[in-house]
Symmetry: C2
Amino acid sequence: MIRITLLGSGNVAQHLIKAFTKSETIEIVQVYSRKKENLASLIDFDKIVNDFEELKEADLYIIAVSDKAIAEVSRQLPFQNRIVVHTSGAASLDVLDVKNRKGVFYPLQTFSKSKEIDFSTVPMCLEAENTFDFKVLETAAKSISNVVHAINSDQRKALHVAAVFVNNFTNHLYQIGHEICEEHQVPFEILKPLIQETAEKINTLDPIYAQTGPAKRNDSTTIDVHLDYLSNENQKNIYKILTQSIQNNGKKL
Amino acid sequence: MIRITLLGSGNVAQHLIKAFTKSETIEIVQVYSRKKENLASLIDFDKIVNDFEELKEADLYIIAVSDKAIAEVSRQLPFQNRIVVHTSGAASLDVLDVKNRKGVFYPLQTFSKSKEIDFSTVPMCLEAENTFDFKVLETAAKSISNVVHAINSDQRKALHVAAVFVNNFTNHLYQIGHEICEEHQVPFEILKPLIQETAEKINTLDPIYAQTGPAKRNDSTTIDVHLDYLSNENQKNIYKILTQSIQNNGKKL
């Protein structure tokens, strides 16, 4: 049994509380939240604290707050030499105060308040300063997910940048598709199976081999028709740059 | 029973042959292919022809060839006043020869040779010159798919451009994510659940509301760290332009 205290009340904190609550090998000791009400529906109210001095002993403290607040929260902890980790893909191990044993417990997934997550498939990217601490993180991670990786700080940075491309930027392309549909009175619905299939395809095919379309075919007639059709300068610019990038990529094959 | 003849032997033609073969309301009369061997595994060899003069009467002729070849194939058909459609998202109705009744039978999906498609969820975008012809296309489309839409040429163009963004360009972003992982010795596998979840999210949330990440949060610290981390000028440039576009988008909300 690992005894865990969570610090934070945002998306990641809430999803972790839900996941750990379901696990039989984890006991949530306490959750720290400045506003206790935020978590009232998720956990016994008497386990929620809003004063660092009230924190009890635990095997693992997970700081799930915004990147900017990690350092300050870790500094305020009124104890030392315990395992204290953050959940951020972007923050380095060193933002955590040196008085405790530092680590990272990064669930690589996009969390929304309004959508449940199957945590068992969420890759958990772990980092610790020594083998014992890593084992604690690993046991905690395996209690909620089947996918656990040791990822050092440089690798985590790479994953975080790559995640911006495949998640944030991809979603923005969906948004542009949505805008084009709206402008021409076509239901965006029609594109959804294509979007799902595009994402699914890379489970069996490396993206470079899954590439299709006018840019890949060097079909300049269609590219010109599309650029002519787009009325929005920003969309035109993105179309040109990504087309060029695909064409340059083709030369690598 | 609708009697269909297909012209072409590429990806779309092959997936349509498979789908129609399973349908009880469709009879495939013939398939035209310059090289008969290409289709030998899909259909009775004596139904494959490579001479336009051998084409028998059918209710519907579906030209599933590359955009450039549609006009020429439709011109070579040795009959008139029959329903002849193409399957292209990019080509206009008017590339088809006027001697026959023109139409479009556009399955909006990405087809690979190596991956099976569940045709029942593929949106079929149909266009015809009159109600009778449309009904024929509709019956044929409904025999293989549950999602059938009347889409005129302008709308189809919009869908095709939008599809380039959500499919071709999105896949290219996956490819960039793959490159970043490779460069830093992280398995791309770790990003796959995120990619699936990003695509799934828009089934319940409009993309503009699903947007997350440093650009959306105007988190200039993380954006600078990422730009600094990227060593490839092309990746840097794409990062900048999509970040800016997300930030401008934010102003619309």
